[in-house]
Every structure is written in C-alpha cells, then in structure tokens.
Symmetry: C2
Subunit: 710 residues, 2 copies
C-alpha cells in the first residue's frame, strides 16, 4: 500500500460528485438474490438520506429504512448525500470450514456497492449490500480520505422498518449480558413486558424500555420468518435494537464505552455486517450460513491443532452447590500474601487430585476427549463482585491440584485437561498475565481454555459489549492462536460468525445456559428458541446432558430442577450445534443410566451434513445430522412445555441402505417436571423410506442414532 497515493485518487471525487449531481440522486438501485426471491432496493430519499428496502417473494420484509451514522463533534453521516457510483458483482464459492454443521458451505450472493458522497463535507461513505438466497447482509464502509481520518460514532442509525407487529423472540437490551429468558410476544407488547423480562444477573446494564438484543427472531402474521443480527463484529461495538413500537421500526443502538462513545474508527474502516435472514420456512433460518459467509476466511495457515471436543468436567457439582471452586473459606484475600499451605482447607474443594483423576478415568473409559477443571487455581475465595483488579494469576494451582501430575495422568490415558481462566471481568489483569498463562498451558499440555468474564468489567465504566472489550476478546483469540490454543469464551459478547476467521473460537456462552437450571430453571421451551436466536451467530457451550434433573437429590439445599426430560437432554447434542459438547452431569448420574449415556458417547461433534426435519420457534425443532466422515446419522428433537407428536421421514438416508436406529425417547408418562427420568430405548431397522412417529413429552424430546448396517 502506498498511502501517499490516496490523496491523488481522492481528488477525483470532486469530479465524480459533480457527475452524480447530474445523473440523479433519487435513482433506485436494485439487486436480487441468486434465486430471485429476494429483492433489495437502495435509494436516496428526500434530503439525500440513504434508504433501503427488502422483499421476499414480493412480500415486504424491510420497508424503506434509513441508513447512516451520527458522529461526535463533526457533521453526521445521515443526510445530504449524493450518489457517486453503484457497482454490482456476483460471487459464488464453496468453502470448507475447519469444523461445522456441513462439510462445505456455499457462499453465493449478488452484491451492490453504492458509493455516496456528502458534498458539504467532502466525505465519502460506501454501502455494501450482499443478497443471498437466505437473506441480506450490508455494511458501512469508510474509505481512506482526507476529510475522514479518525472519527467517533455517537450512534449508528440503521433502521429495520418492519412490515407489521410481528411475533418476536426477544431478550431485554443489555450492554453486558444475554443471560435472560427469551420473551415471546408481539413487538407491540415489548414495552409492557420489559420490566418482568429483566431478571437478576451477575452483571447487567439495561438501557431502554423497548431495547432488545440480537439475534432477534421475528415471525410475521403471514408466516415470514425473519432474523436480524450482525456478522464480523471486529473493532466496533456490539449492536442492540431500539424498537419504535408505534411504527414497528427497529434502529441500531450501539454499546457505549466509559464516556458514552460508541466506537472510534480510523479509515479505511468497515462496520460489521447487519444481517436479515428471511424465509417462509422456519427451518431455513436454522440452516442459514449467511452470518458465517459474511466473515473473512481464516488467515491461520495451520489449523491441524483445532479439533472438536467432547468433554466432561468438574463443574456441575460447583454450579449446583455440591462442591466449591475455592479451597478454603477465607474471604477478603490478597493473592500474593496468602500461604495456602498454612490455611485450613474447607474440605469441599472440587478440583482436588483424587477427584480430578476420577473424572479423567471416567472420561478415558467412555471415550471423551477432555476434562474441564474449574476452581484449580488460587483466588476463588474472593473472586466475585468486588471489582478487584488482581483477582487471579492464572498459573498458581491450589495445593491439592498437582498440575504436572494430573496432566501427565490425563495424557497417559489419552485425555486432555481443559484450562479455565475466569477473569472476574478484570481484563487488564488478564491481559497482563495472558502470555504467561498461555505459556503455562503449553508447558503442561493444555490445548483449550474456557474463559470467563463474570461480573462488571474492571475498570468500571466499560461494558462487556463495548468496542474496548470487543477488541479484548479478539486479542485473546489471536494470542491463543499463537499458542495453538482453542477458546471457549463465557460471558463474552455473543458470536457473529467470527469462527470462520478464528476457527479456534470453538465455543461461546453468551446466553442462558444449562447452569440456570441450577439457579431456578429455564423455560421448558428455551431450547426450541435458542437455535433461532443465539445460535445464529455461532455455537454455544450449552453444557447439556443432565440426567439427574432434581438437584435436591444430591444437594438438598437447592430446590431448582432442570426443565427438561432426560431424553430431551440427549436430543440437545444434535439440536444445539457445537463443536464443543459437554456431558455436564456427574459421573455417578451417568453410571445410573449407562444405557441412555450410550447416546452421548456415540453422538458426533462434527458433521458432514445437516437437515432440519421440523421446526417452529418456541414450539419444536428436529434436526438430522450426518457424522463427519462417517455414514451414521443422528437425530435430535426438542419440544416445548406442551409436548407433541413428531412425524418425520428419513428420506435423507442413503437410498437402499439399511440402518439400525436406536431411539432414546420419552416414556409415555414422561414430563419435564413431574417425571423427567422416564425414558425408553428401542432399536429398529430403518431405510430412506421409513417414516417415524414419535411422542415428545411436555418439555421433552428424543434422540436417535442411525448406524448403517453394512
């Protein structure tokens, strides 16, 4: 690049601007999806306001909606534009993800790039639209130019004008967390339901009575399914949606930093992609790869160290209160002045040598790849809610956790230990220790880390979703990649398809996971919604597989229960796609149901193909997936609190081939609350011509493994 040349080409803009003024600022530019079912129209409305609209099969998805940004201290990029040029392009490629729901992914779109100039300020902005068969992606591009070097976003003003008062699956807008139950309501009901939708959480900052999060799933009264999210969130702040509930217009609302700024950009710069996935079939939303496709291909040259992981862990026992992360019962500790050898242990520490070895033995016996161990390092006595800077050092084990011996033992059995880095939101402290922590992992043979950002971000004023933190998460991914470490980020920002660029991002939490089943429970329809919302951005470390759904049986003080039948817990390994799957329950509970546990042992974590057999957000989802490099398939079905009868056909199977189907299903009397452990396992031979009818109990579901007979 020769930046000195830029001003020369920029000078040409003067000429272009003149030309544009001549050939019309009101001309509408149109493009269609490759299959012609989506039509995008872009125009400059009165006053030079960039506007776009989108139809699907002739039905309005996004009505004419304004685009632009309000800037800090300088004129905004909202009005006064003239059109300098419009470029069109078609693109069609098929790429192979390092891991995923299918062996290859087609990236096929028609593109329109509209360059706009603002004569009054001599500034240029480009709107780039990509129309796929499954939806629209567009972003703002700010070319390098003399009059726009550095600028601060006061607010992005991207509108999504909806065609009606759609049914919405929404979470309260929040700068710090997505760990809420999804509310299902009409958009017009959001305001009235907001207060009750905001439930307690370790860190939350709500901002508006009609602000909601993305991915936002919508369904129109005439049956259109619409999903709004973003892709490739890099060097920008996370987008929420502010609802104008009179006009049913959603508008972008970015996460502010400590002084209220919403992002500092330096040209050349792009916003993340704003995405609208649309179909008249719910299952198409689940199958969309639009968000992944809008991310850049990875630059990693070697990806051989990135592998899907099925794991168990010293985790659920702490979540449920059976054991503790901490080794002692001290409070108010200073990390460097505690001599743990001289302090009385509390006797409830989960991550002790003997117990971890039990997990390693269990993992090895049943073919798991790894054991997550939380609470292995010093500091857990006093880690939360204090806004403490130096809260963990990430390298000092408790006295009863022999890091060298346990890793040796695990590796001798073909198992890895998964590292855990809880930061307590103290990000400067984490970055200060990051290199040392990753070197420590390399030294002992860890190849994956679960990171955590529980509580407020320290220093205060920052938010989990502001630009400064977005940069942090991506910095951790890059540093981890340098050390060939895979990352599973909890309490980080919700994913936006970044795993295409950083395939070592093998998991995220960023939603209400299984842990909440120990904190009061989640709605029985929770897992019939998440694939339409949270999972649109990328895989979730949901940690399914809880067989003993009544926590009080092993921790009498905890009356919470899992809002799911045991059979449905198996289904989640198929319906909640992730290359990282945990069998989250305690080994003793699996030992009580080894027949059902067989499904978790068998199920794949990486796939050649994926089908959606049935789907309706909030009601039910049934997936079939083909194991990577194998002929076997797995089916999972989850339903809401009402239960239902699922009817599927197996026409996706290879014609003429016979398969042994092992069906793990709710017993007729099963019920997520009253009788969760009632399951039945049956085997039958099936072919591509088979049709199956299967009961799903209230809060239930089923899982099927299909193994080719020959």
């Amino acid at each position: 690049m020769n930046p000195l040349r830029i001003p020369v080409s920029a000078r040409r803009l003067g000429l272009l601007t003149l030309l544009c003024l001549l050939w019309g600022t009101l001309r509408a530019e149109e493009i269609q999806s490759p299959n012609k079912q989506l039509t995008l129209s872009v125009t400059l409305a009165e006053g030079g306001v960039p506007t776009y609209s989108l139809t699907y099969k002739g039905r309005p998805v996004i009505k004419p909606s304004k685009l632009g940004l309000e800037l800090k201290n300088v004129p905004s990029l909202l009005t006064g534009f003239t059109q300098a040029s419009a470029e069109r392009r078609s693109f069609d490629e098929t790429w192979t993800p390092v891991w995923g729901e299918s062996k290859t992914i087609r990236n096929h779109y028609n593109e329109l790039a509209v360059t706009l100039t603002q004569p009054a300020t001599k500034r240029t902005m480009r709107l780039r639209f990509r129309v796929f068969d499954d939806g629209l992606g567009f972003r703002y591009e700010f070319p390098r130019q003399p009059e726009l070097g550095y600028f601060t976003v006061k607010e992005e003003r991207t509108q999504f004008a909806l065609a009606g008062d759609h049914k919405a699956f929404w979470l309260p807008g929040d700068y710090d967390t997505q760990e809420y139950s999804t509310v299902t309501s009409k958009l017009s009901e959001v305001r009235g339901l907001m207060k009750s939708a905001v439930t307690g959480n370790a860190s939350q900052t709500t901002f508006s009575p009609t602000g909601v999060q993305t991915p936002l799933m919508l369904k129109s009264q005439d049956g259109l399914y619409i999903n709004i999210h973003e892709a490739a969130l890099i060097d920008y702040s996370c987008m929420h949606l502010e609802l104008d509930d009179k006009n049913m217009v959603l508008e972008s609302h970015l996460t502010p930093d400590a002084v209220g700024d919403k992002g500092l950009l330096q040209t050349p710069a792009n916003s993340p992609w704003r995405t609208v996935i649309v179909s008249d079939k719910a299952g198409d939303i689940l199958l969309s790869k639009l968000v992944l496709n809008l991310n850049e291909p990875t630059k990693f040259k070697d990806v051989s160290w990135i592998k899907p992981v099925k794991y168990v862990g010293v985790w659920w026992e702490m979540i449920t209160g059976k054991s503790t992360w901490s080794y002692t019962n001290m409070d108010n500790i200073k990390l460097d002045s505690v001599d743990y050898l001289k302090v009385k242990p509390n006797g409830t520490h989960g991550a002790n040598n003997a117990h971890v070895k039990e997990y390693i033995d269990f993992a090895a016996k049943h073919g798991f790849d790894a054991v997550l161990v939380e609470g292995w390092n010093t500091g857990w006595e006093d880690w939360f809610g204090k806004h403490k800077d130096y809260v963990f050092d990430f390298v000092t084990p408790y006295p009863d956790f022999d890091v060298q011996e346990l890793n040796r033992y695990a590796q001798s059995k073909g198992v890895k230990i998964i590292m855990h880095h809880e930061t307590s939101g103290s990000v400067r402290n984490y970055e200060r220790h990051l290199d040392t922590a990753f070197q420590f992992m390399n030294k002992y043979g860890y190849n994956a880390v679960k990171t955590g950002y529980v509580g407020d971000i320290v220093p205060l004023g920052h938010h989990h979703y502001d630009q400064w933190m977005i940069d942090h998460y991506n910095y951790v991914l890059e540093k981890a990649a340098e050390h060939k470490i895979m990352v599973n980020g909890h309490e980080a920002v919700r994913p936006t398809g970044l795993s295409r660029t950083f395939p070592n991002l093998i998991g995220n939490e960023a939603a209400r996971g299984t842990e909440y089943e120990a904190f009061g429970g989640s709605n029985a329809d929770h897992t019939t919604i998440l694939p339409f919302t949270r999972l649109i951005g990328g895989p979730m470390d949901y940690t399914p597989g809880i067989f003993q759904t009544r926590i009080s049986t092993f921790n009498p003080g905890n009356t919470s229960f899992v809002h799911s039948t045991l059979a449905r817990q198996l289904a989640l390994y198929v319906t909640m796609y992730s290359p990282l799957q945990m069998a989250a329950d305690l080994p003793e509970h699996y030992n009580q149901h080894l027949d059902a546990f067989q499904f978790i042992k068998d199920v794949a974590v990486d796939w050649d193909d994926t089908k959606v057999l049935e789907a309706e957000p909030g009601d039910y989802i049934t997936y079939a997936r083909k194991a990577k490099g194998k002929s076997s398939w797995f089916i999972g079905s989850t339903c809401d609190e009402n239960g239902r009868t699922s009817r599927i056909d197996l026409s996706f199977l290879e014609p003429g081939k016979k398969y042994t189907a092992t069906i793990y299903a709710d017993a007729p009397t099963a019920h997520y609350e009253k009788n969760p452990q009632a399951y039945q396992i049956r085997k039958q031979t099936v072919t591509s011509k088979t049709k199956l009818t299967q009961l799903c109990a209230p809060g239930g579901g089923y899982a099927i493994s299909l193994v080719a007979v020959n």
Copy 2:
C-alpha cells in the same frame, strides 16, 4: 499470614470499644518532633470527628483540621468515632540511598498511631502520624476487619486548615498534567487568577476554581515556609487540594476514574502519606528528606544495575522544530499496513543512522554515559490526539535506524542508547507490548527507557492521575526492574518519593520542563520555584543546558527563546537535583562554547552531601553539593528576573584544604532576554574561609566547580 486468625482478634474490638467509651473520646493525644520544635495534637472533636493540628516553635502551622473519608454506598468514615487506642513509638535509622543528594539519609521521627472505632458500623480506622524535625507525615490505615473488606472512596476529606492567607506557589488543579507555569499569589487571590493560570496543554482536566496541585509551597506572613504534598502514592489516586478561600482551609481532592470513583481499596490498606514540611528557613524545605523517608525501603536485592546517567540526545532538535520524530509525512496510518520501505522519507527525520552516530561520537568524546534517541520507531506520523489504540509497537525501527548497528557502535565507544517509549496515552497498548519491548531492550543492550504519556489517556475516561493509572506506572516500574531497566517517566504522575522503593525510577517529568522554552518560554523565576514544589517529590528530568537560547537562530519559524542566561543553564545541573541529567542542546551549540561546556562535563550527577547556601522561593536558590566519593564540590545559583548579588561563604569546604574554584558566571551585561550568552569564566583558589560575592544577571545565575588542589 493466617487470615483465618483475623476474625478472632477482630472480636476483641468489641471489648476495646467499650473501654474507649469509658476513657474518653475527647482526650487529645500529643507528640513532638525529636527536636521538640514541632508539636502534633490529635483529638476527636464533637460528634467523634478525628481532628489534628500542628505547631512549629509554638506557631500554628495547621490549625485543628478534620480527617476522614467519604465512601461510596456505605456509611462514611468521617464522624461517630471513638478512640480505641493510641500507640507511641520513636524511630531513628540512617539509610543509604542507591543514588541521591547525600550519601546517607537519617529517618528520625516520633510516631503516634491512633486507632479509632466507629461503633455504629463496627469499623476501625487507624491514623498514623510521624513527626520529624522537618515536618509531619500521616496516613489512614484500614486494618483487615469483617465489616470493612472492599470499599470505594467517594472523597478523602483531609483538611489542612492554614493559619493565614499565605503566599502560595501554585498550579491549577488538574487530573492530567502539571505542565503549567507556577502562579505566585496569596491564597485569597487564587480564584481570581485561576482562569489565566490555565494555559493550553496536550491533555488537561481542570476541576475547580480554587483547586491546586501538590507539592504546594506556602509562606506565611510571619515567615514560615510550609510545603504540602504526599508520599508513597501506591494503589490510590493522586491528591489535589481544594481551597476554601474564605477560611483558608485546604481539603484533599482525589482524582476520579472513568465513573467518578476515587479509589477502590481492599483491607488491609493504607492511604499514601499526607506530608507537611515546615521551617522558618526556606533552605530546610529544600533539604527535607521527609517524603523519601515515608516511602518503604527497596525490596530490590541487586541494585548494581542502577546508575546515575549524564546524557545527550536526539530530542531538542525535534522540540524546536529543526527535525522531526517521523520518517515520512504520511497521515492517518495503520501501523501494520504501512511498508515504510516503499514510502518517500520526509528528509527531516532526526533519528537516522548517520546523525545518531554523530551524537554517539559527541557523547563519547565528552564523557557522557548515554544518548537518548526519540523518533526511532515507526508510528510517529500519526501518533497524537487521535485516541488511537494501536499507536506504537515499541520494537520496530524506522528504515534509517539500524538498532543493532547503532547499539553496537555506541557500546564500542562506552556509550549506551536510551530507549524511548512514547505511549500516546494508550496504556493498554503499551502493556500489551511491554514484555516484548523490554526483551527487545535487553537484546540490544539498552538499560534505560524514557516513557511518555502525551495526550488523553486511552481508553477515554481515565486520567493520568487516577488509581488505574497510578497502578500502571508502578507496574511498568516493576516490569522494568525485572529486566534491569531504569525508567524516566514523562507525563506520568508527579513523584512522591517512590524512588526509595523503586530506585530504578531515576527520573520524572511531571512539570513544565525545558521543552516549554521552545513552546513560548517559561517564567524567568521558574527554576527558583521548582525545587520548592515539584522536586519535593523526587528528581525531575528538566533537561537543562541550552546554550543557544534563541531558537530562531537555527529554526527561523520558532520565535520562542529560553528565559535564562547561559550561565544559569549551567547552574541548573546543581540546583535541579537529578541522577539523570541531560545536556539538552545541539552538539554544534556546545562546540561554540566548549569553555562553558566544560562545567557540564565536570559536574557530578550523584552526591555525598548537599548544602543550601541561600534560598527564597520565587527569588533565588544557591546549592553546594559534594560529588559522590570525591573531594570536589559544585555550586549552582539561580535567580529570578530581577537579578541580584549572591553572597556565600564556603565554610562547608574541608578546613585547611585549598580548592581551585572555576566560576562560570553571567557577565555584567548579561540578561536572560537581551543578552543571554554573555558569560565569564574565572578561576581562583579558595578555602573554607572564603566568602564570595557574585553577580546574578536578571534570569541568570552561576555555577562553580571546586576541585581540591592536593
């Protein structure tokens, strides 16, 4: 430490509290300085308000003044106290600094520790007072206790009730910079002068019409000299003083963080020491070691790598506009996407191989230890005022700076190159690169770094003087020490004697240095004030030695001039104590005055003894110092814009010994503005009985070297 034992002893407090209620909350505790000239009185005023007062030779220095802190979200530590205990102790030690103004330092005080309890909250706070012969130090101590673990300071409410409307040498209160001209006025005039006192600067955040900075120098109408500052600023925010100009009461005002908090503490914790140095002789203020004594001894086991440094540098030529830090004239660059080899150089880059070698040759020829080189690394095209995160990487030299060859060349001549790390205030970026940057220094043989924090702190919302940044500066010192690197911190917080604990902190800027002589000039009395204010906390990298005081002679566009005679520039090497002394002018200017330059070559940078021969803040200062490990002495004298005749006697010399005095003095016609370069050099033989009378021109001064004849 066994923290589990703490609650046990804390329980005893209940008993103690009861006892206290019996033996009186209004009892005044008193202690005196070892020489009995200072008397401190501490009492609980009406309502259980901790109060102290201080007298000097029976004259009030601090009238009864309140102590305490306002906390966030919990009851304050201001009132409702009862006295639990009062402990007394005397201390007398003599310690040896790694470098300093004298070979040894006596730390001699009487101490009173008053433990207070607040029965309503069951909390305990301790006030620790140390009364030295030269003043008072006191701090708040917060012992570890069940009811006070973590707490956030809303404001510290330490009062300094003065006995009158003193003359004050003050700077506008500011959360980010001390680079102001000192204003000399009565306290009652501060409010009226504040607006004109605030002059433009790269980053400033003023906060009040009567807020001033420390060290604050005061003089009472009856001739008491009083200096208020703080010592050992660690894990706390920097203190300013808010003036109640009706009652002449100063009150602490801490620097807020991004959300307005003024410090998060975890018990056990201490505030920094609040210091009041007092004497009826101005020179005693200059000689006080109270601030150093209140800091903790160093924990460094090996200090052999820490050595005073006399240096030249590629610096003044950029400051004056003769050359540039940047290698090209690009703007708006992204560090990783510029290929400097393909960009046209601007031809004005100072830090080029040939030129740096000239400096190395000059340094070697004249016996300097080191050459500072600024502008050696990529990024300077676009470094300032953009709030850019990734602004420098601290390891990539410009194409015309051969880091390996230049260090080899320098070392072959017995000279070191001093590293420069300008951060542009982007502290996360600096911390991310810190290890790599220090490893880079170790690799090439650098042993000292000048750090810089020009502009607003990034992320925005933080201030140069808030707790988060204080922690940063100390983190850099610790990391540097791990790499055996000395630090000279510019634009960092003003020092508070921390060099006792971190002797690798060999310099700080934190005031208006010589650079301002190229930005419009400083007042002619500036250097008659700084030793009474800024230097009370520690040495300043003032960068004296400008011989060519008219900048327009070598950069016609710059009409600024140095407000000092040439002779006074020599005096500054003695009056502005620092173990790090720069000969800041260009080599060609020294070559024009090699006779005067001889003083800079000869003068020591480390001392066995220091005397103040004459001093009056704002008017004149004359120091004599004995070179470390040698018999030679050096005298420096600086005066204000009026000029004066200095009369000193040399009774400090060894009796009976003869010394050759080389006197570098203003010529009779010299004047800082009209005739700055008029100097005379004469030699004479002197003894301890000699009395000298020496003219100081307006804005002038003199320097004397005294070498024993036998």
